[in-house]
């Protein structure tokens, strides 16, 4: 079978393959009908190769773009979560100056390792700034304690003492007291008060 326009058609195949290799799919104009001769079969195969490759390339590009978008979205969410966590940490470890020279540290919820570090840092910063003489650590809002919570309380008292402040522990619930005793946490060195009001009263009396 005679192959018409052999040179021109081979040239065209060559051009199309070059565009394929360069990923320049949009530069490929009409594919045209494949001729009914042996070269036509090759031309058609090249067309299929280009179309299949283009589909895969575009789909992969989309997948990559999708992954980038997902990463961006995840990063944004992670930032939001981190910011909210910081805000929550800050809100969960307030230190209040309720009277001249008297600070109150109300503890609520579970005192994790992270939180105890946060509380310690905040308290020491506040003490060095305010030069307060009394610190009331109120644990009315603490429902669950363990040895680590007990250790945190002791460390707070010791750290405050190093900066010249006396500590009072107030608001110990009966269940918390029982657990601390059962756990063998020694709080005998720490002055305690029934509640925040009596602790404050104690401080004011001692300051007069």
């Amino acid at each position: 079978m005679e192959i018409t326009n052999l040179d021109a058609r081979l040239q065209r195949i060559n051009e199309m393959l070059s565009l394929l290799l360069e990923g320049e799919f949009d530069a490929i104009d009409e594919y045209g009908e494949a001729a009914d001769d042996p070269l036509g079969r090759i031309e058609e195969t090249v067309q299929f190769l280009i179309m299949d490759t283009k589909t895969i390339v575009v789909a992969n590009r989309d997948k990559e773009a999708s992954l980038l978008l997902q990463q961006e979205q995840l990063a944004t969410k992670a930032e939001i979560i981190e910011r909210q966590a910081a805000e929550i940490r800050e809100l969960s470890t307030p230190i209040l100056e309720v009277w001249k020279d008297v600070l109150v540290v109300p503890l609520i919820g579970v005192i994790s390792m992270d939180r105890s570090t946060e509380i310690m840092t905040n308290l020491l910063e506040c003490l060095s700034r305010n030069k307060a003489k009394w610190v009331i650590i109120d644990i009315t809002g603490v429902e669950i304690v363990d040895t680590s919570t007990g250790a945190t309380l002791i460390k707070l008292v010791q750290a405050a003492a190093l900066l010249g402040a006396s500590c009072l522990l107030s608001g110990i619930r009966p269940a918390v007291a029982r657990t601390l005793v059962e756990l063998g946490v020694d709080l005998t060195e720490i002055a305690t008060s029934r509640n925040l009001a009596s602790a404050l009263e104690h401080c004011l009396t001692r300051m007069r």
Binding site: F25, D26, I28, D29, E30, Y31, Q47, F48, M51, D52, K54, T55, V57, V58, A59, D62, A65, S66, L69, Q70, Q73
Partner: protein, 251 residues
């Protein structure tokens, strides 16, 4: 011509390449859509009664005729006030079927465009709601009116819509998913399926829906997923250049 059930892997690949070649260099997404449905319908008309291709298009980018249709549809549903220039409209871009009227998207009576104005509005149209849900398009962004988010997330979505038996399938509210039961009965529609996918970085999501006279397995439907990849490969540039309709927006 053949039926979908008898479509071999080689036939399926050949069909994909045929339509891809046909839509290569199409001037608009609409032209590509019409060409796509025509080529596929011609090959599978033993099974397919009606084949359509939809895409989400911003209201402001619709031709005037489509805008008028969408306004009228929204007014009749008491949701006219919810439409603005940025509202996405699931628009019919290509249509072909056994009735001559189905071969011209402009002659569609009910499906020229469905505005995605609220999850409840879309929920009133069980097939569209199911279609979007199964294709992975969540609707929670609608109330936020945040098409920028849509543009970012649509490209992440793709999926398959499948209703094994159009006569019996119901949604959670016990409504027929294919609500046009007269059409289903008259034309002996059995399986309805679709495939869809978004164009990354744009609010355009395209969906192909096929109403078939055969019972078709979900596994066979899965094969049509690659249609979306090929269709997108050829039309990605058109979408990014905003060449959607043959008639200019508002014209």
């Amino acid at each position: 011509m053949t039926s979908i059930a008898n479509l071999s892997k080689a036939d399926a690949l050949q069909l994909e390449r045929r339509f891809q070649k046909a839509i290569h260099r199409a001037p608009t997404l609409e032209a590509a859509a019409q060409k796509y449905v025509e080529v596929v319908y011609q090959a599978l008309s033993d099974s397919i009664t009606l084949l359509r291709l939809f895409a989400t298009v911003r209201f402001r980018d619709l031709p005037e005729q489509n805008q008028a249709f969408v306004r009228a549809l929204s007014e009749s549903a008491g949701a006219a006030g919810a439409i603005d220039e940025e509202t996405l409209v699931l628009s019919l871009l290509g249509s072909v079927g056994i009735e001559p009227a189905w071969c011209d998207r402009r002659q569609s009576v009910n499906h020229v465009g469905v505005p995605l104005v609220s999850p409840s509005f879309v929920g009133e149209i069980p097939m569209i709601a199911r279609l979007l849900k199964q294709l992975g398009v969540e609707l929670d962004w609608i109330d936020r009116k945040d098409t920028a988010i849509v543009g970012k997330t649509f490209g992440l979505q793709s999926g398959v819509f499948y209703v094994a038996d159009a006569t019996t399938a119901v949604d959670n509210n016990n409504r027929k998913i294919i609500s046009a039961q007269e059409f289903v009965a008259s034309y002996g529609i059995k399986t309805v399926f679709g495939v869809g996918g978004g164009y990354v970085g744009t609010p355009v999501f395209t969906a192909i829906t096929s109403f078939c006279r055969d019972n078709i397995d979900e596994a066979q439907v899965e094969r049509f997923r690659s249609h979306i990849d090929r269709f997108k490969a050829e039309t990605d540039g058109l979408v990014k250049q905003g060449r959607i309709f043959s008639v200019a927006a508002g014209g």
